[in-house]
């Protein structure tokens, strides 16, 4: 009996099929990250000029300057608030879509995807017309005489969080939806016949069994929020900058590529650690299951 009935060609086939994505990943992601890592050890001379000599100066600056720590902490806080608000706002619609008897469920799911058809930047800019001094809210409140001065709604942390929720909510809803959809309806019926009210059955069955999706959604929203810089740039003031804006400013403003590289690696590693810790508890496969909705 042949131990391996596969021919050489058959063994090669999976690799051939994987090759395009592997090559793309290595060339466009792994390699650039490696180059950035190398850059983080170069010496910054002046804007746009760096010396290719080994130095740990950038890293020492990061670890010693509390300016960066403050931004890291703030980014974590804003991202956490965003993720939690997404969870609170996303659960009810996800539950509704999963449980509805409405026969055109796909239509409801389509509605979730529709915003993605419009450019993310344009969607973010649209908030200016709502929250701005001449925006819908202020104009309405002034017209009705409830306020005499326009409220400062735009360029605040609240506006930044709102913009990020706007962008992240569909991810959260899809994640939760997939896990609720996967729950056997008989479990709810069983809980009901054993003495649960509808609320108690939700608490005993639906909520715990949908936690993986909820957790996956939280992770996804946290990571995406923590890495964003366009939303704070458009909807926030300079005080509302996040770590991504610091990186942007270091690289594009100061043209300090070595420091910018170091900061980018920091963000990448920290978010990576969050994902790893998470997957230890939740299993990252759940996250991917949610993404595949």
């Amino acid at each position: 009996m042949a131990a391996n009935p596969q021919t050489a060609a058959e063994r090669r086939a999976p690799w051939l099929l994987l090759a395009p994505s592997l090559i793309t990943l290595v060339l466009l992601m792994i390699l650039p990250i490696c180059i950035m890592f190398v850059y983080s050890f170069y010496e910054f001379v002046t804007a746009g000029v760096e010396k290719h000599v080994y130095t740990t100066a950038n890293w020492r600056e990061f670890f010693s300057d509390s300016y960066y720590h403050m931004f890291l902490w703030k980014t974590a806080r804003v991202a956490a608030i965003t993720a939690i608000l997404c969870a609170l706002l996303g659960y009810p619609p996800a539950y509704f879509i999963a449980m509805t008897q409405y026969k055109h469920k796909w239509l409801l799911l389509l509605l979730l995807i529709v915003p993605f058809w419009i450019s993310f930047t344009i969607r973010t800019f649209s908030w200016i017309h709502i929250l701005g001094e001449q925006g819908v809210i202020n104009v309405l409140l002034m017209k009705t005489g409830l306020i005499s001065e326009p409220l400062r709604l735009l360029y605040t942390e609240g506006a930044v969080i709102m913009g990020m929720i706007h962008f992240l909510l569909p991810y959260m809803i899809l994640n939760i939806y997939v896990s609720i959809e996967g729950i056997d309806r008989n479990l709810i019926s069983a809980a009901r016949t054993l003495g649960c009210t509808a609320w108690q059955a939700f608490y005993e069955v639906v909520l715990p069994l949908s936690l993986p999706g909820l957790m996956a959604g939280l992770l996804l929203c946290f990571v995406l929020a923590a890495g964003s810089y366009v939303t704070p740039d458009i909807l926030g003031s300079t005080r509302d900058s996040l770590f991504g804006n610091v990186i942007f400013d270091t690289i594009m403003g100061q043209l300090n590529w070595p420091m910018g590289s170091a900061l980018s690696i920091v963000l990448l590693v920290l978010l990576g650690i969050v994902a790893v810790i998470y997957s230890r508890f939740m299993g990252l496969s759940r996250v991917f299951k949610g993404l595949g909705a």
Partner: protein
């Protein structure tokens, strides 16, 4: 159809229960009365409304008409969680995130039973289903048969007024199914719990039930003991659904000495026991069980020819032809197995023949 001689209130009573979804009527004017401790099976093909009846007793669907009472109390307007009913699902529906202990204790917890008492009852329930000591396991760590027993324990431990079983054995493999069938019956006897069992498997129904409700298209076709429904089917549907029967259309030509001569359409004449309401000239269908059709070498019998023969060990299944009529025969093998093409004599005892009228109802 319901027993009129009952003295106490029936354990479960359905009065003219109807359930319609839009234009589709799943259950049509069903009335049924079940005694305390009785094991009643709702038997029928899929879509006959049997599961819908079960779910409406449990409260998972709302009948559009009629009344349901359990233990003398009307419950069709009582919310699900306040009906004291044990339901076992086809797929068991054990809570996957809860231990076996928490699964079984679930109903007790919501009945505000004391902790120590819960532990005692859960242990007793596990002993009863012969799975002691599995409290800490998760459902996913148990086999299908074990999960089935846990589901049963979870339903029984709350001491429900009635136990509802929705095809609980259909997910098990054949050997285990037979074993669980016996065990389920023993447990039901021990606890003395009124049980309604839903199945499409007639063997299960015949083996386990005190009474069987044969259903078709949302209506009750017949209600009776297993022997009743098997030996004395009241309708064409019951006759063809239970067991293998020959349904032979024909016309009564003469009645004499309690026997009717029936000229089968396009075939030979057959003698059947004549019920009182049989009239000469009436169009009838003769029903004969396949195992009541014996074939042998006898010359005085109806002549026939074997079309196909299947050897089944203790018995053999034949298709035989006689004067243009094809008959099914499942007989124990006493002489030898007849082969295809052989000429045989077919014997049918008149007492084994039932007559159905034109509407398909049994003549009595």
């Amino acid at each position: 159809m319901t027993g009129p001689s009952m003295t106490t209130a029936p354990a479960v009573e359905l009065r003219n229960v109807t359930l319609a979804y839009h234009t589709f009527v799943a259950v049509k004017d069903v009335s049924l009365s079940i005694r305390k401790g009785e094991f009643v099976t709702l038997l029928g093909p899929s879509g006959c409304g049997k599961t819908t009846i079960l779910r409406s007793i449990a409260g998972l669907v709302q009948p559009t008409g009629g009344e349901i009472s359990v233990a003398g109390r009307r419950i069709d307007n009582v919310p699900i969680h306040k009906r004291n009913i044990g339901l076992v699902f086809q797929n068991y529906a054990l809570f996957p995130h809860k231990s076996i202990f928490d699964n079984i204790a679930f109903g007790l917890k919501y009945r505000k039973v004391e902790k120590a008492e819960i532990a005692r009852k859960v242990k007793r329930a596990l002993d009863m289903v012969r799975l002691p000591g599995v409290e800490k396991k998760l459902p996913s760590e148990m086999s299908g048969g074990q999960q089935q027993r846990i589901a049963l324990a979870r339903a029984i431990v709350i001491e429900p007024d009635v136990l509802l079983l929705d095809e609980p054995l259909s997910a098990l493999d054949a050997n285990l199914r037979e074993e669980m069938r016996t065990e389920l019956k023993i447990i039901q006897r021990e606890v003395g719990i009124t049980t309604i069992f839903v199945t499409h498997d007639q063997e299960e129904a015949l083996a386990m039930s005190d009474r069987i409700v044969v259903m078709n298209k949302g209506e009750i076709e017949q209600l009776g003991t297993p022997e009743d429904v098997y030996r004395r089917p009241e309708t064409r549907f019951v006759a063809s659904f239970l067991g293998q029967s020959n349904l032979l259309p024909g016309r009564i030509t003469a009645i004499a000495d309690g026997q009717a001569r029936v000229q089968l359409d396009g075939g030979p004449e057959i003698i059947a026991a004549a019920p009182a309401s049989a009239r000469a000239g009436a169009a009838v269908t003769v029903v004969v069980r396949a195992q009541k059709v014996t074939i042998g070498a006898g010359s005085k019998a109806m002549p026939g020819k074997v079309i196909s023969a299947s050897y089944l060990g203790g018995t053999a299944a034949y298709f035989v032809e006689s004067g243009g009529i094809r008959l099914q025969s499942n007989a124990t093998i006493d002489e030898r197995v007849w082969r295809e093409g052989e000429a045989v004599g077919i014997t049918i005892n008149p007492a084994d023949c039932l007559l159905l009228d034109e509407k398909g109802d049994r003549l009595v």
